[in-house]
Amino acid sequence: MKKLIILCSVLTGGFFCHNSHSQTTQTVDTVKLRVVYEQFSVMDTANPGNKMKDMMYLDIGDSITLYDDYNKYVMVHLIKDLKSQAEVDRVINENSSKYNSSGVMDYKVIKNYPQKHKMTVGDRFAMEHYIYEETIETPKWILKNGTLTVAGYECKKAETLFRGRKYEAWYAPGIPINDGPWKFSGLPGLILKVVESKGEFSFECVSLEKKHEAMRDPQAGSAKTAKIRKKSECIKARQAYMDNAGAFIQGNPLYSAPLPAHNYEKKPYNPIELSE
């Protein structure tokens, strides 16, 4: 009898409940505008026809501006809203196959972060964050005649020489805000298109969306505890990684087996910044 009582209490006593909670990541600003750019890069200058494509988004807040990988954003937010595991599987299935060795790097630029007039630039490779900060430098633009419609907006033309490359930019006076893709800013309207003179880099707006949502700390997570390094160190590490990734990671206890042989070969690399 005692056994029976014990057994019954075991089988019925197992119910309990717990409250749900939401993620509490620090909010740093409010996003008011989201712009998505198609970014093309030529990494192999010997083969300029081979352009790598990245979808990047620019989240413009009251102060902070985040330029980051759009697919990363879509994946994180799209999946969250889906109803069933089956839908998640379907979305991942449909979309991950579209990936084809593109995606230059896991790269982001955060303007006015951690403070005004500064920007934080983050790169990620070989399971490490490489983060540096620099003062926002506005390119010296020369306004030119000429108009072009980008994403439905009439744009005006400007030119500059920035970090060793010549660029032609198109900005929309109809969107009166001082911002643009990557490290660009400083035109009397949002920069919707930028083309490098040799065609090695280009940025073009494909979508604009009005927003009113919290901007989560863009460096939340593992990047928060990473060391802020010198810009020159980050560039040196990226170069060493592109020159010989296999050799670069050796000795790191995170990599248990040597990488395949082709990782020991030099990969084409064409840095966007040629000078300070």
Partner: protein, 864 residues
């Protein structure tokens, strides 16, 4: 004064060449300055003459060389109404007030969404990781940063076991995913996804974060909706036997179902049984339901510091059938059936030395073992994983027969016959349902097991028989409640465990007329409540658990007609800390634990566990108290290729008893003595890695040290013992581009034992071991691979006596489209025996094992 003059000059000179317009822009409602307003100076043709932006005080300053009377200012900012201001010819403008206006955008949608997950899911293109000597997906998985793959196919990511192994998003194999790791052909897979922080329960997503990762394999488009796999057949000669190997593996992935079928057999020394091991599933899965002990175990499960294929004499057949069918979008039904038939042979010369009162009792045995294992298990699992409900219920049945015949040559021949059987059936229900913001959860595990054991010993004309039967029912039921406030989270776990056990043993020993029996029944109940607090801000993680455990055990001994009840209340606190700063990471843990044993530790009468070993546990319930501390410090500077880890471990255990051993001639009687004992374990490990990128060379050094202090009761005397073990592993990896790779590894290890009591006779002994391994791979082109490997062992098998052994193996493979041919020539120097030494407390054991002779094996593989 001079400065003022210069200043005036400057102002006037500027005003000559250009005019400056200045002013402030404010919000019309709250009169607060607006930052970032675009001020454009336009001419009458609407061309931009100049522009600027307001600063944080709303101030702007714009210059122009043109005549100001023909120009106007366009003041605009996103979210405000644009104002046009005509300029009178003066520099200072009145304040401009902008009216808030909801901005309208011509919203444009994205043309193409190429999705590529970088943070949560990291996808690896298999073609990019694959090299020509990779065959199975496991070969590629181990190249993914942070991933390690064990020989049995178990996967860890950043040092922690993965919590799910998916194929096309479905969990077909559950904990037996080693079958996939070791057999899915690499050519069938397009992408491997590592899903970090994977929460497999859909409705817990965004509520309960997970620290574990999962792996998902995505097959190539042409490898779905049809059977895919490999057939590999081979034969060879092993210089006293013919060798065979046959592997057939097939996987078929459909939209609503998945199937894996595999049959493997060989006698070539390759362990294919370990692929069926249950892998650890995640770090947050605290469930472990080990079978109770039934006192006798098979004598064949020895392992030695040598690659298993060098000493494994086997004849193995394995068969697995796995099928998953989706019942709906969110639920599936899974059936897994496995059968193992494994025969193993072992020949060993064992030289045992037992320390007795300053002298050694030496026993020399030549043992030849023959083991036959038959294991059949089947499971049916129903899973429903939707946004408001989760059910996972595997029902599993297992039947296992393990027979070992052991023929021993000692002073007189002895034979042992072990017959060990396991039968059990278990059900593990996990059910959660969500209503509004709450989750109701129940987890209930139940098992009925029957474990019959037989041991028959024949010495000359005498026979002894031991039989054991342990029958039990066990159930464990858990639930928890959790909530989060800011960066802190609280959780309370509640658990109820119950076990009903019956252990019967019967020994008919040859010189005793009466049989020796145990017959114990027990009821066990454990209630457990565990409050837990944790704080996590990304860099700093801290958690404390304070479980309160109430144990109740009622024991009824039918042989001695006694009834005993035990009840205990334990508090077992523990704390964890992790701190990350830049390139440093510190982890520390403190744990205090108290626990009691089960009825296997309560048998008063002897049980025979081997022809010369008898054991009882003196009817004393074991009670352990332990304190454990661990810490680790890691430093990682990838930029300079420098890595450093340092870890430490300390454990102090107090037990209410001491194990004792007594010899009468060669017969060993072990039992427990009601005297408390204490043991201390201290350990440290270190790792240093330095990478010289420019010469493609990496040096790493791993060091381990452990010191154990304990006490041993042998032949009526207490001996305080101390043993020390250390090892040092230097490794050099040298890669010369694509076609040539050299890895050189050495292991130095040393083991020493001593009695630390000054009054007893001094006893100290130690032995050392050196192992060295060098492997060279050469790929002249993409189809051909040559491999050469040498291993060197130097073992001390007795004081001052060393054995040295060199192994040489080579291989060649040729690959053409779907076909592949392999030749391997193993143990070229035909080494026949491997000897090594181990210590256990005061006793030392020296073994000499027969090795597989030189062998030639050719296999042909077809991938379909």
């Amino acid at each position: 004064m001079r400065i003022v003059i210069i200043f005036i000059l400057l102002i006037t000179s500027l005003s000559v060449r250009s005019q400056t317009i200045e002013g402030v822009v404010k919000d019309k409602q709250d009169k607060v300055p607006i930052d970032g307003v675009v001020i454009t100076l336009l001419d009458k043709n609407n061309n931009t003459v100049a522009y600027c932006f307001t600063d944080k005080d709303g101030k702007y300053s714009i210059q122009s060389e043109e005549k100001m009377d023909s120009l106007f200012l366009n003041v605009s900012f996103l979210g405000y109404e644009t104002q046009i201001i005509f300029i009178k010819s003066r520099s200072k403008q009145p304040d401009i007030f902008l009216q808030v206006k909801d901005f309208q955008l011509k919203e444009v949608s994205v043309k193409a969404r190429t999705l590529w997950l970088k943070e949560d899911t990291i996808a690896y293109n298999v073609a990019a990781l694959q090299t020509q000597n990779d065959r199975k997906i496991g070969d590629v998985l181990k190249k993914i940063p942070g991933v390690e793959v064990s020989n049995s196919g178990g996967i860890t990511y950043r040092g922690f076991p993965i919590n799910k192994f998916y194929i096309e998003g479905l969990d077909l194999l559950n904990s037996r995913y080693g079958i996939a790791t070791n057999n899915v052909p690499v050519d069938a897979v397009s992408t491997v996804e590592v899903i970090e922080n994977h929460q497999p329960v859909k409705m817990f997503k965004d509520m309960i974060p997970s620290m574990d990762a999962a792996i998902n394999l995505k097959l190539k488009a042409g490898k779905k909706f049809r059977p895919v796999g490999t057939v590999e057949a081979g034969g060879g000669y092993g210089f006293d036997d013919y060798l065979w190997t046959l592997n057939a593996f097939g996987i078929q992935v459909e939209k609503k179902s998945q199937t894996i079928v595999m049959y493997k057999t060989n006698n070539s020394g390759k362990n294919i049984v370990s692929e069926f091991d249950d892998q650890t599933i995640g770090t947050e899965n605290l469930k472990s339901f080990t079978l109770p002990s039934a006192l006798i175990s098979s004598p064949i499960t020895r392992s030695m510091p040598l690659t298993e294929s060098r000493y494994l004499f086997n004849k193995t057949h394995v068969l697995t059938l796995n099928n998953l069918n989706k019942v709906s979008d969110d639920s599936h039904l899974r059936v897994n059936v496995n059968y193992i038939n494994n025969c193993k042979e072992e020949t060993v010369n064992q030289y045992s030395s037992y320390y007795i009162e300053g002298d050694n009792l030496i026993i020399n045995e030549l043992e030849s073992l023959n083991n036959r294992l038959n294991l059949l298990d089947g499971a049916v699992t129903y899973n429903n994983n939707s946004t408001n409900q989760f059910i996972n219920n595997p029902l599993k049945g297992v039947a296992g027969w393990d027979n070992t015949h052991s023929g021993i040559q000692t002073q007189s021949p002895v034979s042992e016959e072990f017959d060990l059987r396991n039968y059990y059936i278990q059900n593990d229900l996990d059910y959660s349902v969500k209503t509004k913001n709450r989750i109701w959860n129940i987890n209930s595990f139940m098992r009925y097991s029957s474990l019959p054991r037989q041991l028959n010993v024949q010495t000359e004309s005498l026979t002894s028989d031991q039989s054991i039967l342990r029958i039990g029912f066990y159930t464990q039921n858990n639930t928890y409640y959790s909530f989060k406030r800011g960066l802190s989270s609280f959780r309370v776990d509640l658990s109820l465990e119950a076990a009903f056990d019956n252990l019967k043993t019967d020994l008919k020993y040859h010189f005793l007329s009466d049989s020796i029996r145990n017959d114990i029944k027990s009821d066990f109940l454990k209630t457990f409540i565990q409050p837990q607090y944790s704080y996590n801000n990304g860099a700093f993680l801290f958690s404390v658990k304070i479980p309160l455990v109430l144990d109740w055990l009622g024991v009824q001994d039918n042989e001695y007609k006694t009834n005993t009840e035990y009840s205990y209340l334990f508090v077992n606190p523990s704390a964890n800390l992790r701190y990350k700063y830049e390139m440093w990471e510190l982890i520390a843990q403190v744990r205090y634990n108290q626990d009691i044993g089960d009825i296997a530790g309560l048998i008063p009468s002897y049980v025979m566990t081997g022809y010369r070993t008898l054991r009882n546990t003196s009817g004393i319930l074991s009670k352990d108290k332990s304190l454990m501390n661990t810490f680790s410090l890691a430093y990682k500077d990838a930029l300079n290729g420098f890595y450093f880890n340092l870890g430490g471990y300390y454990r102090k255990t107090e037990r209410n008893m001491m194990s004792k051993q007594r010899f009468i001639n060669e017969l060993s009687f072990s039992s427990n003595d009601q005297q408390s004992s204490q043991s201390k374990f201290r350990g440290a490990n270190g790792y240093i890695g330095k990478n010289f990128y420019n010469i493609g060379t990496t040096f790493t050094l791993t060091a381990n040290y452990a010191r154990i202090e304990s006490k041993k009761w042998q032949q009526g005397d207490h001996y305080p013992l101390q043993s020390e073990i250390w090892s040092l592993i230097p490794k050099v990896n040298f890669s010369v581009k694509r076609y040539f790779n050299v890895i050189c590894e050495m292991v130095f290890s040393s083991n020493s034992q001593s009695i630390t009591n000054s009054t007893a006779n001094k006893y100290k002994s130690s032995f050392a071991q050196i192992a060295q391994k060098t492997s060279v791979s050469y790929f002249p082109n993409k189809k051909i691979e040559f491999k050469l490997q040498s291993e060197y062992f130097s073992d001390e098998i007795a004081e001052g006596i060393k054995t040295e052994l060199v192994f040489l193996d080579c291989g060649f493979s040729y690959r053409h489209k779907k076909w592949e041919i392999n030749f391997s020539w193993d143990n070229i120097l035909n080494q026949k025996e491997y000897s090594y030494l181990t210590y256990r407390d005061l006793d030392s054991f020296s073994y000499s094992y027969r090795l597989r002779p030189q062998s030639l094996l050719a296999t042909i593989t077809f991938n379909y």
